[in-house]
Point group: C2
Chain length 498, copies 2
Amino acid sequence: MTAAYTELERRFRRLSLLGEAAGILQWDMAAVMPDGGAGIRGEQLAELKVVGHEAIVDPRIADLLDKAERDESAALDPWRRANLHEMRRAWRHASALPGDLVAALSRTVSECEMRWRGARAANDYKGLQPLMQRVLDLTIEAARIKGQRFNVDPYDALIDEYEPGADAARIAAIFDDLAAFLPGFIERVLVRQAAAGPIAPLGGPFPAARQRALAETLMRAIGFDFDHGRLDTSHHPFCGGVPEDVRITTRWDEKDFTRGLMGVLHETGHAMYERGLPADWRLQPVGAARGMALHESQSLLVEMQACRSREFVSYLAPLAAQAFGGTGAAWGVDNLHRHYTRVARGLIRVDADETTYPCHIILRFRLERALIGGDMTLDDLPAAWNAGMKELVGIVPPDDKDGCLQDIHWPGGAWGYFPTYTLGALAAAQLFEAAVRAVPGIPAGLARGDFAPLMAWLRPNVHAKASSGTTDEILAAATGKPLGTDSFKRHLERRYLA
Amino acid sequence: MTAAYTELERRFRRLSLLGEAAGILQWDMAAVMPDGGAGIRGEQLAELKVVGHEAIVDPRIADLLDKAERDESAALDPWRRANLHEMRRAWRHASALPGDLVAALSRTVSECEMRWRGARAANDYKGLQPLMQRVLDLTIEAARIKGQRFNVDPYDALIDEYEPGADAARIAAIFDDLAAFLPGFIERVLVRQAAAGPIAPLGGPFPAARQRALAETLMRAIGFDFDHGRLDTSHHPFCGGVPEDVRITTRWDEKDFTRGLMGVLHETGHAMYERGLPADWRLQPVGAARGMALHESQSLLVEMQACRSREFVSYLAPLAAQAFGGTGAAWGVDNLHRHYTRVARGLIRVDADETTYPCHIILRFRLERALIGGDMTLDDLPAAWNAGMKELVGIVPPDDKDGCLQDIHWPGGAWGYFPTYTLGALAAAQLFEAAVRAVPGIPAGLARGDFAPLMAWLRPNVHAKASSGTTDEILAAATGKPLGTDSFKRHLERRYLA
């Protein structure tokens, strides 16, 4: 008999459904909501959060968890046991915080996110700072409480929400390794790319409607099913919704189609992970995506490993030429591939190429670690940002708009999230290397727009695993080793210096 | 001290926010959700409903209501006392039904609504019938339980959800009065309109984008604020969202702009009511719209009373001509006004003019009363529908698609809702008559697209009253009499036979 476990499944199903309702409201807020709806939307989201919070901290859940772990665990199959483990994890995070703090965080974050839009456009760091300070104070309060409760550093407690089991010390070691490798590597690539002469421009403008049509064609090639998802526009591209109804958003730039297009393919990688989660475990904690690093690995695997490969670009080039009426050598495979593998020291993280991107992340990791740890204040952020950019990327932002105001994450309350982007890039390289080793026909598939061989490998090895193991367990089973930097470095050297 | 009342306010605030979250999910389902999301959306909505249901039937609410009514009522000001009254009403409806039934209804209705879309397109009544039967059975079960509990007829218990205080006997009396008046009246109008010769056609096609632009201009004229609302497309036009973020939907027909445009103005009337609800009472039961009859009165007041008036059409005609490049007498005020006041015996309720519309409603009222009362079965519905159409409207549908399958209401679980359309039409005529009596400049305002005088009267007399009194109290205060048919008949005779 596993009565306690069964009752826990019923209760966590409700939590998942409440979370999904909030997810649709968040998509709506980003993609379609008029500005005047922001205030009440913040109240709606805060209330949903409090209702979910009250449901998980109900003393009955703690009793059920104790009972299931003590009396029923041995009778559970591995997935149910993993599910119980994930329930405990979710409970531990939720029960650490008082309901007032959860509600205040949700409300403040909604307000700060909306304010950030205007503040960024107006280059007004000082105008945003008081609200950011409230977000940061509440976040530190939450981190402090959780850190005490879990017996870890406050910042590690935040990271654990996004990437279970990760900690700042291991991340710092990985990032230091990259920080030792990348600057020299980037310099060599820049010299080599300069020597190759200028890349032919693609002209333009590129009407948004045509970009969208091409993007939809490529999404379908990857396997995206428009009966189970949408593509919309929003300020900051993201992948939301639920596995049966995945909501991708992007931005279209009529002067340059290459970025928006690749952004859509990136989000499609996220979407394929969600779509591939096991239907049998829908609405249970074990059935959810493992963590943000593995999630990002799926978007970066599609974008960086697959879609910026020479093979895929050979499929894309004629389609793009046809979509935009492009002719001549500029629209050939060689030149388009140079566009898609161009390395540059830039100010903006979301526009960064895969070699400089980790430098942006290392900067943010170091800054948020200091802010959460109390080693730095928001007064110092702009100057520290600029100093870090100079050190890691080699350039200095002329203003905060393209400096410390560029990301929604901190105003949005997502502290401890940034490192997962680069952990994901490392995992993507490691997984793609293993996939191609196991299925040598994958690159040839990409050259004809056929993602089926790649997805056929990813589905059982990553997507369908959901949260049945840790990130390292999933990676080790799929690639033979835990997360590391070797595959990523090999990938960069092969693509940029071979 | 009014501690119990204050705690009730806190708890009903949560219920409102949960309901609003569900409302956004419903808008999403109708306006943007891909079909593949329907199953899980039904689960999300059902769970939100169950969570709200559990919150309102919490025994603590019953205790608080008892205590507030017994000990605190005398200390409350009239709005708080009305709020307490509305809380009791909501509790009475919610606590009557077991949670299982509430969840089953929500889930079945979501499924049936989705199925209805395909069944209507395929003219497949038999295909929809089993699912409709499940909806009807669950609805009868709910009506029976509530009827016993409130000591009223089961169908009256359903009506009371949409139009508090209304009952089938009074509605039948009003509808019999109309049924005695309308057929003869319609016949006279048809003879007169036939004698006036054919109406000049407006040509076409009318691109959806231009219809939309014109609709937005008119919405702004009425007072719609796009910082606090949206206009989208959906299968069945409706007004959803929340007062700070009103979501109107419509359908565009490129062969005929007149219907879609008027549909938008109709929904704008609903939106103005929501926008005009008192901000001080947001999220409290007393702060919500009074009922569906008064809600429909606001849409029909804008559409039928204001926007189909000669005065408004004189403002509209040149704008429409400009929007679609129309020239000549067909686009003059006279001819456009003939389009907008044309009477015809038609099959489709939503396309019916204001003289035949009540006949469609009387049919539905009689049929659903019989279905809920067990005097008729779904097997008999198509034939009974066709017989009723012949009797009341004077024509017979060639198929169920344009017969008993045309409305989403029954598949959608909204039994007892239909009568409110015609109660609303009566209230609209009564309110507009009183408004013009009080502010004689209103028609001249409409002639220049200025709705400010009309809205300035409606806001304090209807919108801001919210649920502080009954429909009849609000109508009596605004017009000097409870709901009746006199103003409506006067309006019809003046517009169509003067």
